[in-house]
């Protein structure tokens, strides 16, 4: 079912929705950009439809709504562990198809991998519904079509901005009631990107053998990559974290255990006591990351981890491109050209 809804009317619906849901969307954050005086498009709670930025890609993904950069797992009081209260609000997030598909990858790790479920992620996940944002022609560095992540039907509402109104598709009956009384109906189905400017050549029959390990192509990254980890932090599918305990300065008896985002590109990711570490240069780390996104996640779960959002290529201060890397891997490997 679809409706044409005037912006003011839609904002009234949004007010009603916000009684039940926290609504997150990409917004323009003034002065938050990487350089003085620049802005950043990022996720924040919204109260008006006009705040939603449709014509740019967010720098960071929507994953932080469910998997926070820093999250307190426990508070310690004397010798007790206390889990922080879990927020009870339902969440609605404006997301693009690649990012909706990225949540499926996070679900795989946090919920399905191994016999235990990550309760912090899962409890939020159960409260989340998606509002699908369309991408028009797509953006710089996007390659979702090649990854098969350009489309999705895992959404509750589709909202398309138009001249003076919002075109709405209500797919999830939970939202029907909010749109009762609006009778300016229209046919609306999602339009997905069908062609990107960038294509990626996925190598077939790859195996992490000595050919891949000794491929000279990795050395380039040892020279160029500074190990800043930004490619991991912006990635909607990166799920690694490190535990961190802290105690409060004013009271030694209390403190907390946190988990913080970790990056396989940054020093320390594999360090063990006794000075042992693995993948000591950036080339080896690039290999580990690329193989995880395009090979071993697939081997374990049956589909690629990367959703082709291009954020890692957008952010890299050294202009390192994961797409170029994979294409070079393809042309220099036996299964390649």
């Amino acid at each position: 079912m679809g409706y044409k809804i005037q912006i003011e009317d839609f904002n009234a619906i949004l007010r009603e929705l916000r009684r039940v849901y926290r609504v997150f969307a990409p917004v323009n954050m003034k002065g938050k950009g990487p350089y003085a005086g620049t802005d950043l498009v990022g996720y924040a709670e919204i109260s008006k439809f006009e705040q939603v930025v449709y014509n740019q890609k967010t720098v960071y993904s929507a994953k932080e709504a469910l998997f926070k950069p820093v999250e307190t797992l426990f508070y310690f009081t004397e010798e007790e562990f206390k889990q922080p209260a879990i927020q009870t609000n339902k969440i609605l997030i404006f997301v693009r198809p690649c990012d909706i598909n990225a949540f499926k990858r996070l679900d795989e790790i946090f919920i399905n991998n191994g016999p235990y479920k990550d309760n912090y992620y899962q409890q939020r996940r159960e409260k989340v519904k998606f509002i699908l944002m369309e991408c028009g022609a797509g953006f710089d560095n996007c390659f979702c079509v090649a990854m098969g992540t350009n489309a999705t039907d895992d959404y509750s509402l589709l909202l398309r901005p138009a001249e003076g109104f919002v075109a709405c598709q209500i797919k999830d009956p939970e939202f029907d009631a909010y749109f009762n009384g609006f009778n300016d109906s229209m046919e609306i189905t999602p339009r997905f990107v069908e062609k990107n400017n960038i294509t990626i050549q996925l190598p077939q029959n790859m195996d992490i053998d000595n050919d891949i390990l000794n491929n000279p192509l990795w050395q380039e990254y040892t020279l160029r990559c500074t190990g800043c980890g930004r490619c991991n932090f912006v990635c909607p599918t990166c799920s690694c974290f490190t535990m961190q305990d802290i105690f409060y300065r004013d009271n030694d008896n209390s403190g907390e255990r946190r988990r913080v985002w970790a990056s396989c590109m940054v020093d320390g990711f594999t360090d063990m006591a006794g000075g042992h570490a693995f993948r000591n240069n950036q080339g080896d780390r690039m290999r580990f990351k690329v193989m995880h996104k395009f090979y071993d996640f697939h081997k374990r779960f049956g589909y690629h981890m990367c959703v082709g959002c291009g954020r890692c290529d957008d952010i890299c201060p050294e202009y390192i491109s994961i797409v170029k890397c994979v294409n070079k891997l393809k042309s220099s490997s036996p299964g390649g050209e």
Binding site: K117, N119, G255, R257, F269, T270, G274, H276, F278, D296
Partner: protein, 260 residues
């Protein structure tokens, strides 16, 4: 409420025994039910967590042998009998005990690698025959000296140190050279377990292969950085394998393909 897999359980220290200047053995009162080769995440609120192998276990207790190397282990070594710490687990796969029943078994352990195999050495009667090759850096690093004496009564023990001192009258040299001198009647039927630092494992496995022990008869145990122990944090992953879930114990046929 959903289960919180990160929530540890309390465990009371019922014995602390220094083995060397830096390795202490702790016996814990606890209801967890580990198997040989599994590990737990030891938790000290406000300090941190770290993975530690279960070195022995029984009804209502388990044992860990912990080397003092950093944040968590330094604080652990200051604790006394009666103190309470926290643990979660047991995690990991452990040794497949059925594989060894009635078989000729050779265990090669380097340094703290002796801890994860201790409990299976205590079950020597279940095997057809047992040889332990234990190597340490120096006489001061030898773990479980009392246990070693008892084991010498029950099965073949070859103890060696990299460097001896004036009071050392035993073997000197690396484990690898003692593997060479093993008299294996039927090398293709021997089951081998190798646990220790990465390079020790690599070269020791090569020696056993050289003696004609088939790859599928060799088992190794890996150590990797681990933050969660339950397949979430990503630190222990090699290729598509999570060492905390599918390991830390691996058959060599699989282990040899795991390239970091």
């Amino acid at each position: 409420m959903t289960v919180n897999p990160y929530l540890p359980q309390s465990a009371k220290i019922i014995s602390v025994k220094p083995q060397t200047a830096v390795d202490y053995t702790f016996i814990m009162e606890s209801e967890i039910k580990p198997t040989s080769g599994q590990f737990v995440e030891v938790s000290l609120p406000k300090v941190g967590e770290c993975p530690i192998s279960v070195s022995d276990f029984g009804e209502g207790w388990f044992e860990m042998t912990i080397r003092r190397v950093g944040k968590v282990t330094n604080v652990l070594h200051q604790l006394k009998v009666g103190d309470v710490i926290f643990v979660r687990g047991p995690y990991g796969n452990g040794f497949l005990m059925d594989k060894y029943r009635g078989k000729e078994v050779v265990v090669a352990a380097g340094g703290t690698g002796l801890a994860p195999v201790k409990s299976m050495l205590n079950r020597s009667r279940e095997y057809g025959g047992l040889t332990l090759l234990a190597g340490f850096k120096s006489p001061a690093d030898v773990l479980f000296p009392d246990q070693l004496k008892m084991w010498e009564q029950d099965f073949n023990v070859i103890l060696t140190v990299d460097r001896g001192d004036d009071n050392w009258h035993g073997n000197v040299g690396l484990i690898t050279q003692y593997v060479k001198s093993l008299q294996l009647a039927k090398p293709d039927e021997v089951e081998v377990i190798v646990v220790g630092p990465p390079l020790m494992m690599k070269f020791t496995v090569q020696e056993f292969l050289g003696l004609g022990v088939p790859e599928k008869n060799i088992t190794v145990s890996f150590e990797r950085k681990m933050c969660c122990g339950i397949g979430k944090c990503g630190h222990c992953k090699i290729d598509d394998t999570y060492v905390c879930l599918e390991g830390p114990v691996f058959n060599y046929t699989r282990a040899k393909g795991l390239i970091d």
